[in-house]
Symmetry: C2
Subunit: 463 residues, 2 copies
């Protein structure tokens, strides 16, 4: 008999009585003298399958009734519709084969475990409801992103992770090397001789694929990256990981308005797709993790995002500055408390804040005509604050050069980047979306360690 997944059985068309074969792991088991019930999960969906086994109808009833949680089983039996029960059907076992037993010291016994404990068994925690739901939502959201960009004519660009540009934020980058740390080759003056390193120079793990994505956008028109990114920031917070995934679209012949339109459409599309594909998972999060989650997500999908300038935002915030820990003034970097106040209290929905002071933004952002602000935007969402940061890029060679000088960047390090402004420059824009932030937003999970299957954070690179 061909094996079916539990997800297949739950599909309406498959819900008919008859013989079935399923494989999966025991989530719970209870048995009386002659009758037993197993909640079986095979990972194909959030739901379990109830398997009923009865003495005399299945061989080895006694051994089966003592099975430990976590055991892997192959079950053959009959699907029986149970219209009056909590679940629409169950399987009456005719034969149960133990693929792999479990033991009483299996760490995932049927009780509630703390997420702190579950993080110490990252290799087993995907077998729990919480992480099973989180990582499935992660997978579905990733697919939704690819689907959205594909349907909108974007080219998926794989930008490199190992980078030789030591110009930007070097202090927060991981070094990549094959030199012997114990006794590295040195130049005459005693400094490390990186010309003998694998790539013939100093290399690090990238903090963004944007500059490379710009090269691709000025050939393909619309591109996006979706891959790992690294930050060697020594910050042990619930929101920071050393290795995380980032989405960076980049569009040519486009300005900041187009950029915001794209971000809004993308976010609605992804969240709409997850709402549609993961109702069980989201209901679980809404019930056990973040009450009100579903309402917030449904509202976002149907909202028209607000837009306001940084200058307007500061005016609003200054009126209530006593509420905040951090000071508010024109020129300040907005803190999460400010951002959340704006999106939650003032606008009551997602809001794009635009046109930030150039001093607090990167060199590549397009200078506005006022000479003081740049065409940047952050998207703020309720419950989180900033979820997307983007900008129109400076496409004018002379302005870019001036900004680089102001910020002490060496032209020779960016000659290829400047070439994009020399040869067929076009206005273009893009943004970055931290994928884990998105998953936290969609699930209501508050710690980034719980949306990454095997998180890498300060002091921790287990498994």
């Amino acid at each position: 008999m061909e094996r079916k997944t539990i997800a297949q059985l739950y599909r309406a068309a498959e819900q008919k009585e008859g013989p079935v074969k399923v494989c999966g792991w025991v989530r719970t088991l209870r048995a009386s003298k002659s009758l037993g019930f197993i909640e079986l999960n095979d990972g194909s969906c959030f739901k379990n399958l109830q398997v009923v086994f009865e003495d005399g109808k299945v061989e080895g009833f006694k051994e089966l009734s003592k099975l430990n949680v976590g055991s892997a089983l192959m079950v053959e039996g009959t699907l029986v519709l149970t219209p009056d029960a909590r679940q629409p059907f169950e399987v009456h076992a005719a034969a149960i084969e133990v693929e792999g037993p479990s033991t009483p010291d299996y760490p995932l016994q049927k009780k509630r475990h703390s997420v702190e404990f579950l993080r110490t068994i990252a290799h087993l925690r995907p077998r729990t409801n919480l992480y099973s739901a989180a990582f499935r939502v992660r997978s579905v959201a990733a697919y939704a992103l690819h689907k959205f960009f594909n349907e909108n004519g974007f080219v998926y660009a794989h930008t490199p992770l190992i980078t030789g540009s030591d110009c930007e934020g070097a202090g927060e980058m991981f070094r990549v090397t094959t030199l012997d740390m114990q006794d590295p080759p040195r130049s005459e003056d005693g400094s490390i001789d990186y010309s003998q390193d694998f790539f013939g120079k100093e290399t690090s793990l990238t903090v963004s694929g944007q500059l490379n994505a710009e090269c691709m956008a000025l050939a393909f028109g619309k591109v996006y990256t979706f891959g790992p990114t690294f930050r060697a920031e020594n910050s042990n917070t619930p929101r920071h990981a050393a290795e995380f995934w980032m989405i960076e679209p980049e569009i040519a012949f486009a300005d900041l308005q187009d950029d915001m339109d794209l971000a809004e459409a993308m976010l609605k599309s992804v969240i709409g797709y997850v709402l549609e594909q993961c109702p069980d998972e989201l209901a679980f999060f809404d019930q056990f993790v973040d009450k009100g989650l579903l309402e917030r997500l449904n509202k976002l999908v149907n909202a028209e995002f607000s837009r306001c300038t940084y200058t307007e935002a500061v005016e609003i915030l200054e009126k209530v500055k006593d509420r905040f820990e951090y000071p508010v003034y024109w020129g300040c970097d907005l803190q999460t408390e400010h951002e959340r106040y704006l999106t939650e209290q003032v606008f009551g929905q997602p809001v794009f804040v635009t046109d930030y002071p150039k001093e607090i933004k990167a060199f590549y952002m397009r200078l506005n005509d006022d000479g003081k602000t740049v065409a940047a935007t952050d998207l703020l969402v309720p419950g989180v604050g900033e979820i997307i940061g983007g900008s129109q890029r400076e496409e004018r060679l002379d302005v870019l050069r001036e900004r680089m000088q102001e910020m002490g960047l060496k032209e020779e390090d960016y000659s290829w980047y400047m070439d994009l402004r020399r040869f067929g420059s076009a206005k273009h824009a893009g943004f970055g979306l931290g994928f884990e932030r998105l998953i936290m937003y969609i699930t209501g999970i508050q710690n980034i360690r719980d949306v990454l299957p095997f998180p890498r954070t300060t002091g921790s690179a287990e498994f």
Copy 2:
């Protein structure tokens, strides 16, 4: 007027006369005294759009006719059907605005450039036919993979790139560190004190996500990874890069036969999708890069792949051993010349070779009952040799332990991996597909440097 992409114009439904607005870059331009022709490309598809501009009908004819190749333009005009010409339509310009000019020293003048030269301008080469086609096929193939796995109930698992396991092939791994290379902290015995490194221990860039993927497969049933992988191998060949992308599916309650079925279905699905979505690109490769490519791809999609054991393969090869540079005997690792002979001359199509001697394969592969071979498989394809390597994994704790001892691996380094065999072990299998190898196979491109947008190889990490 709303801008259209050139891809949109080529769609049958859009091919009607009327006003249009397009943006793009000049691929070629020729002009007489009063009439000019521009081949415009906007990256939305392989094809160019012919723009006709005429003195008196468009402002600035003289300046336009002197535009350099590579200039970025915004064109408004009328789409005119040209049923008798080479292209089905052209645009008669009413206004042409130069978004960004180019210069006579633009490196991509209209002549054939060597791929060696083009590699030195990786930031501009996506604007050429060859690389535009290669990177679009790359993008479409990536999407096809996600689509295939999604439609078949797989969960996309993001496995970590930074790894603390220094057990496997450490010599070929890149170290990741934030220690001061110049003066690293040392223990009393003079050795580097890695407890002070970012993660509190030695870390490297992963060579495979498989072990992590196994954890996920034994929770979700079917998972796959698709992400960057690293090899610090000092091999300057056309087939090796230090950073490349890999696909690693892993399936539970499955054996080697299921694994091969999956690999075959996946490969046919991806190649079928690219054949369907990229006819222009593949026709280009067939004509200019690898004559016979299309025939080979179409044949693969419709073939039923052959299967033979390693032992049978060696018997076949021993009969013609004089043809080969490398010796053939039972126990030898098959070389590319052997692999290609098998798939090209003997089977004339893709072939899975199975059940290799355990000595030449990894510790986690399932030992066959003969005690000599393991349930491993390599898929060999014409023109390339090995493209996929997979195996059924050893699910029996005692056998795994014995194999690890034989190979000198420490149990404490793998305790979490062994837990998967302690708690609900199930037979499972998986394989690895090097994404660049796949793209080389689909495009006929012979050098891995030409299918990666910004390749990282020994001595080179530019851009």
